[in-house]
Symmetry: C2
Subunit: 301 residues, 2 copies
């Protein structure tokens, strides 16, 4: 169809919808100290491609469900992602001054407020999910499923666990398996959450949920290996932070273990396996999910 | 009845049950980096009276509901309280080395791990709440209500908001209203959550939920004013931290505005009004809630 959006346009269109929702996500009538509200919104609206919420919406579309009812959940995952970036950037953690070409939260609001803004965004993500129940007709049982998934995939055995392993790993990762643990939990877990949440919202079958999980783990890991490669060879301007920043900090990356070529081959395999899982599970409208797999793992930025 | 526990014994008995549950609250089979798990458990099991979870259970008992089904929610509120203490103690925040006579989390595990342990406990609280649905017969609708309350009362317009206002207030609070805002959000909001959650779990009527909310705000504020007084005149050994630590940091407290005697009178009034709300709402078994009001606001430690 000649009027069909390219995948890049599709992502941009979704990102615009998500940003409009995020802008309204902290109720104006709530009594929130001004600086806290500002600090939360500064990072929430600091750009990025909104890939995780886009995956929620693309999954809902793959099942021909309501993207409107899914918006609060899509926003929630972006709040979780944003809080994790704010805390990761702190001096006590990665000590980064810039993110996407803008000053990091603590450089503007100070460490204490950045910690609190992260805590508040994490907490508010759960409020946002509940709004799919309050404002739309998503049944309470689905909401509880989604909240259980998020609490696992973003928590101690999920994203935070990956971050903790990464911190400890800075004292020396010696095996590829250790690096994969970190990549899977730091990155894939939230990708998997996005896909499963979309599945829960749109009534996926157990087989489809399994396929979404497989797609998520494969694409998430491929995305992160690509990130490692970009950090080594990417263009500074395109990725918005100094390249080789990981190498400078002597951080162990995927290419460090297997070389760049084998890393690229691994990405190719993971992407194909992820797509195949979706194809095999017979989604009524899977095209965007399949295109996203390629887009995410072949990006140059 | 001669065999009835004193309120002190009642709290100790509840605390023991809660600690046994907390000990098991991070599933052993979950893959969590060792240091992260240790750091979370260190603070979660670092003592304290477990007053917030005890309020959940006492509210359930006031309505003759199942305390067993309420345990995961009771544990959740202790996870939230614990995470807030870990983050508050960080060098970037209050910079405290000791809490309840033990080294604070970051003094043992470092700032980065303390931030992550706090994030993981906050996230895990929502997992814990969902277990009242999974393991007992609490309906999904009640779980969603409880999660919505927690996400508001612990978030940007609740506890985190109070903490942010407190941080900013260190540059000079000039009005009693500002201090009350901080006290209500830093302390009362979680107390209110505990009571409302107990009410939701045990089928409170709307009138009873209102009474629980009123009780919570009054007792929470009275508790915090008492804390201010204890910090000025309390016995160092009993409260486990150096007395006058707030004054040393030139922190403005309730007695600073109205004097100690008027503060004590305010505590007395708030306590009576809180108890009266419970009496007026006709709970079938309110005695422990009423005793807790007196206990919490007349404590000397």
């Amino acid at each position: 169809m000649s009027t069909e959006l390219t995948i890049k346009q599709y992502i941009e269109e979704k990102a615009a919808r998500i940003e409009a929702e995020l802008m309204e996500s902290l109720p104006a009538i709530w009594s929130i100290p001004d600086t806290l509200r500002e600090s939360m919104m500064y990072s929430l609206m600091a750009g990025g491609k909104r890939l995780r919420p886009t995956l929620v919406l693309a999954t809902v579309e793959a099942l021909r469900g309501s993207t409107e009812a899914a918006m609060p959940v899509a926003c929630a995952i972006e709040m979780i992602h944003t809080y994790s970036l704010i805390h990761d950037d702190l001096p006590a953690m990665d000590n980064d001054d810039y993110r996407r070409g803008k000053l990091t939260n603590h450089k503007i609001y100070g460490d204490a407020m950045a910690i609190l803004a992260g805590d508040a965004l994490l907490t508010h993500a759960f409020y946002s999910i509940v709004q799919s129940f309050r404002a739309y007709e998503v049944p309470a049982e689905q909401i509880v499923e989604i909240i259980e998934d998020l609490s696992k995939l973003a928590g101690a055995s999920g994203m935070v666990g990956g971050q903790a392993a990464d911190m400890q790993g800075e004292q020396g990762i010696t095996k590829l398996e250790e690096l994969e643990y970190i990549h899977i939990h730091k990155t894939s877990d939230l990708v998997v959450f996005s896909l499963k949440a979309g599945g829960h919202l749109a009534g996926a079958t157990p087989k489809q949920l399994q396929a979404l999980e497989k797609y998520g783990y494969h694409i998430g890991l491929a995305f992160q290996i690509q990130d490692d490669i970009l950090d080594l060879i990417g263009d500074e301007k395109k990725i918005g932070k100094p390249v080789k920043s990981d190498e400078k900090q002597q951080k162990v990356t995927y290419p460090y273990f297997v070389g760049i070529e084998a890393s690229q081959e691994k990405i190719r395999q993971l992407t194909e396996q992820g797509k195949q899982a979706i194809v095999n599970a017979h989604f009524p409208n899977p095209d965007r999910l399949l295109q996203l797999a390629d887009y995410l793992t072949k990006r140059d930025h």
